[in-house]
């Protein structure tokens, strides 16, 4: 369970708030999507949870512990993280990249290798083909799969994903979303997923939290947001893409 209690963040000493007074509970096992346009504060909020962004007002608890009181290195090793740019280590092979967290946690090299191959298989990358490659020898979609595998390798209870599929083409993104959905039950993780893509949010989420100008506009299941938008912003957010779809449908 992650509890976000009255959290605010400013990068300019309080003149402007990037995140303003956010309250949000993410129960264990839930996949919650933070949806918002760029600059809405959703990535900042996500990075506060693993303390990549520090110095904020309010309180964040992970499993009942205030994260301010946990050593940040230990905290991060217990939370899987996929960043916006993936950030695979270019000088390490795919196998070494995936095994990074087990290595940090002191696993034997044999165990690192096993774990790495296990996860590559889980992400549908054949270890015999890909384990020895460098990230520069992979396609964009393959890199993302390695990024997700790396985040899962330390068997974290939580997974933070910051627009992980943002840079991919539609087909590749769809394949990865489907793979994540297939894994949803067997993984049993609590996932916080940031995106600006409404369709991606609808596909992945148990609940969606819509962020607008640093504040939460509405939190609910995809159908609640669609049928009972709480603010004009949320209403617009859903109506525009649906309108686009209808226009496309009419054209075809």
């Amino acid at each position: 369970m992650i509890r976000i209690h009255d959290v605010s963040k400013s990068f300019d000493g309080g003149k402007t708030l990037v995140v303003r007074g956010v309250n949000l509970d993410i129960p264990s096992g839930e996949w919650l999507v933070l949806l918002g346009s760029s600059g809405s504060g959703k990535s900042t909020l996500l990075k506060m949870i693993n303390r990549l962004v520090v110095g904020f007002g309010g309180r964040i608890e992970v499993d009942g512990n205030d994260i301010g009181g946990i050593d940040h290195v230990a905290l991060r090793r217990s939370i899987g993280y996929v960043s916006q740019g993936i950030g695979l280590f270019p000088h390490w092979t795919v196998e070494q990249n995936v095994a990074a967290v087990p290595r940090l946690l002191g696993a034997s090299s044999l165990r690192q290798r096993e774990r790495s191959h296990e996860l590559l298989k889980l992400m549908e990358l054949d270890p015999s083909l890909y384990a020895g490659r460098f990230p520069s020898q992979l396609s964009g979609g393959q890199r993302q799969r390695v990024g997700v595998a790396r985040a899962l390798a330390g068997e974290p209870g939580y997974l933070l994903m910051d627009e992980p599929f943002g840079a991919l083409d539609g087909v590749t993104r769809d394949a990865l979303q489907q793979r994540m959905l297939e894994l949803k039950r067997s993984l049993g993780k609590t996932v916080l997923f940031v995106t600006h893509d409404l369709f991606e949010a609808m596909t992945i989420a148990d609940r969606i939290a819509v962020m607008h100008e640093g504040a939460l506009a509405q939190v609910g299941t995809p159908s609640e947001l669609l049928h009972a938008p709480a603010t004009p912003f949320v209403k617009d957010l859903f109506r525009k893409p649906l309108g686009q779809l209808q226009r496309l449908g009419a054209k075809i």
Binding site: N50, L52, V73, A74, L75, R76, R77, S78, G80, Y81, S83, Q84, G85, I86, G87, L88, F89, P90, H91, W92, A100, V101, L104, F134, P135, S136, R150, A151, G154
Partner: protein
């Protein structure tokens, strides 16, 4: 030719002195420059200050610097090494800093995000990725030092510059070339050798 050329053993001796001088200077400059580069990368506030100071040191003409060091260190190899260290720090510091800066923000954020401590991030990610640029700095320092070390013969530091000095004084071209050619060859082979090494340092490219 007016005078007989020196023995081969004398050439070897001066070559060794030259390599020794350059080697010690570049080693000391690396021990100072690399940690300093890492430090100012972490503390950017001091970056302009330190880079400025090192740049100024670089602009002092080598002969003037040697003359300046004479009253403090006397003659011999000590002032020579000090002067060479002062010249070698800039390329090594700059190479280290450039290499560290070129590590993409995504990569270091990912490293932090998965739970690397500052020192793990430095040793596992930042330094290996900065290594090619860092080694390039060492390469430049080596080439400069080999060149500048020939001047150090003026203050009795030995090395291949000794032949050049004597050749100039005696108007003996053969003697002069006996210093100049090995010095040039030494610089070229260091440049080439370290360049080869750089390719091995980034198998992922």
């Amino acid at each position: 030719m007016s005078a007989p050329l020196p023995e081969f053993s004398e050439l070897m001796q001066h070559l060794w002195e030259h390599i020794y001088l350059t080697g010690i200077a570049v080693a000391v400059a690396s021990l100072l420059g690399i940690p300093l580069g890492v430090w100012i990368h972490r503390h950017p506030r001091f970056q302009n200050w330190i880079m400025g100071a090192v740049n100024v040191a670089q602009t002092i003409p080598s002969l003037a610097l040697l003359a300046f060091l004479l009253p403090f260190c006397g003659i011999g190899w000590k002032p020579a090494v000090i002067a060479l260290v002062i010249y070698s720090i800039l390329p090594i510091l700059r190479g280290t800093l450039t290499g560290l800066r070129e590590v993409s923000a995504d990569v270091s954020e990912a490293g932090r995000g998965i739970g690397m401590s500052d020192s793990q991030l430095l040793w596992w990610v930042e330094l290996p990725l900065a290594l090619p640029s860092l080694v390039n700095g060492v390469r430049v320092a080596c080439v400069w030092s080999v060149g500048t070390a020939t001047i150090c013969a003026f203050i009795g530091a030995g090395g291949l510059g000794d032949f050049i000095n004597r050749g100039l004084a005696l108007n003996n071209t053969g003697l002069l070339l006996m210093g100049a050619i090995p010095a040039a060859l030494l610089a070229i082979s260091l440049d080439w050798g370290i360049g080869r090494l750089q390719k091995f340092l980034q198998p992922w490219k």
